[in-house]
């Protein structure tokens, strides 16, 4: 199939994307459930105890995927917001708005689970090292993006203002990722990177990656559900929405 044969622009219209998303959501939920069950099973029953941290290391099965998602979702959100700003496409801006709460949730999860783990392992709930501080800034960026959009009544203006904030904040993502390399921090370096072999036993790694997949599927499912709500809310005066409402009655 040729790249040009796919009706890309058909699905950039909120009306047709609404129905496409509706069809995809159950599949992503199902995949999320399967991966989560498999990941948690590997994490709790298959993966061995760590030689230093004992059982406490099992935090990585949620902490690491959550931290990855928090950074990745921000980049995706800023990307959609930027496309919306540049090309004035309504759906891309709606996608950015739909991703923000999920990103904020994962950022909070990463900070919270890290803190719970930090007390017994490091000896403190919180330190102001570069990794932890930049991740906290990421949480504030998500909250700032959502509050800014909520504060402006006109959705198109809210999209543009939010997009500028999201794009400015994107510089924080590489800072978070490389903070453990650039500065000496209390947080340890990355166990997994593109350049080197992972410094982690294979079953532990498998569990973590499967959990990361579960988080991906969950994020896509909830983002699609949220974007459907936003579409209906913003297009409530459009004819296709009133037709759909007519069918429901």
């Amino acid at each position: 199939m040729n790249f040009r044969d796919i009706a890309w622009f058909k699905y950039s219209s909120p009306a047709s994307f609404y129905f496409l998303a509706g069809k995809m959501i159950p599949w992503f939920w199902a995949a999320a459930a399967v991966f989560a069950v498999a990941g948690l099973y590997i994490g709790f029953f298959v993966a061995p105890t760590d030689f230093q941290q004992g059982e406490a290391y099992r935090i990585i099965f949620i902490h690491v995927p959550a931290a990855w998602m928090s950074m990745f979702l921000y980049v995706v959100m800023a990307g959609w917001a930027g496309i919306g700003l540049a090309f004035n496409t309504r759906l891309s801006s709606m996608m950015a708005t739909a991703l923000a709460p999920t990103g904020a949730l994962f950022t909070f999860l990463a900070l919270w689970t890290g803190s719970l783990w930090g007390k017994p392992m490091w000896g403190t709930w919180w330190v102001w090292d570069a990794r932890l501080t930049s991740e906290l800034i990421l949480l504030f960026l998500y909250i700032g993006f959502m509050s800014l959009q909520a504060a402006i009544d006109d959705p198109r203006r809210a999209d543009r203002a939010g997009a500028v904030l999201a794009l400015v904040g994107v510089v924080n993502v590489p800072i978070i990722y490389f903070s453990v390399k650039w500065w000496n921090t209390l947080h340890q370096g990355a166990s997994i990177s593109l350049m080197q072999a992972p410094t982690m036993a294979a079953t532990m790694l498998t569990g973590m990656l499967v959990m990361a997949l579960a988080c991906w599927m969950y994020s896509i499912a909830v983002a699609l559900m949220r974007v459907r709500c936003i579409i209906v809310e913003r297009e409530r005066h459009a004819q296709w929405v009133s037709e759909m409402r007519g069918q429901l009655k």
Partner: protein, 149 residues
């Protein structure tokens, strides 16, 4: 060039410019962003004098001594080049171990002993089951004896 492509280029240049600015600022603040100082930096007088700072490094093998009161601990923090003795009274974190990373916060006394108010364990990015760690240790020992021979 279409207006929307112009806009996209404008955004791309804006983000790139901002990234560059942040990179330069962070580079300028590099020395202010350190979480801890190593014993070598302390020896070179790079750490603040008479003020609280953090000292980080490895706990030297065989250097941990407990006082008779059961709470005060003495150990040596080293970065393999220089080392500093540390005194601390309190509970040590689980991961505190000889040969492992540690970050302590406190003041350097005039006698050269670092009096810590807080001891945090810094661990590495290696995760493996205890059997694997043991096997690795054995292999390293074997390697050493081979080299020695």
């Amino acid at each position: 060039m279409k207006p929307r492509h112009k806009k996209l280029m404008f955004i791309a240049i804006g983000v790139a410019g901002l990234g560059l600015a942040v990179a330069l600022v962070l580079n300028a603040f590099r020395s202010n962003l350190v979480f801890f100082f190593s014993p070598s930096q302390v020896a070179a007088n790079e750490a603040p004098q008479g003020r609280t700072f953090r000292l980080g490094g490895l706990v030297q093998q065989g250097s941990v001594k407990r006082q008779s009161d059961g709470l005060t601990v003495q150990f040596i923090v080293t970065d393999t080049a220089k080392s500093i003795s540390v005194e601390y009274k309190g509970i040590l974190p689980d991961l505190f171990k000889e040969g492992k990373g540690v970050v302590t916060q406190g003041k350097l006394g005039t006698d050269g002993v670092f009096r810590a108010e807080e001891v945090l364990a810094k661990h590495d990015e290696n995760y493996m089951p205890p059997e694997a760690a043991h096997a690795l240790e054995q292999a390293q020992k074997a390697q050493k004896t081979l080299v020695a021979k």
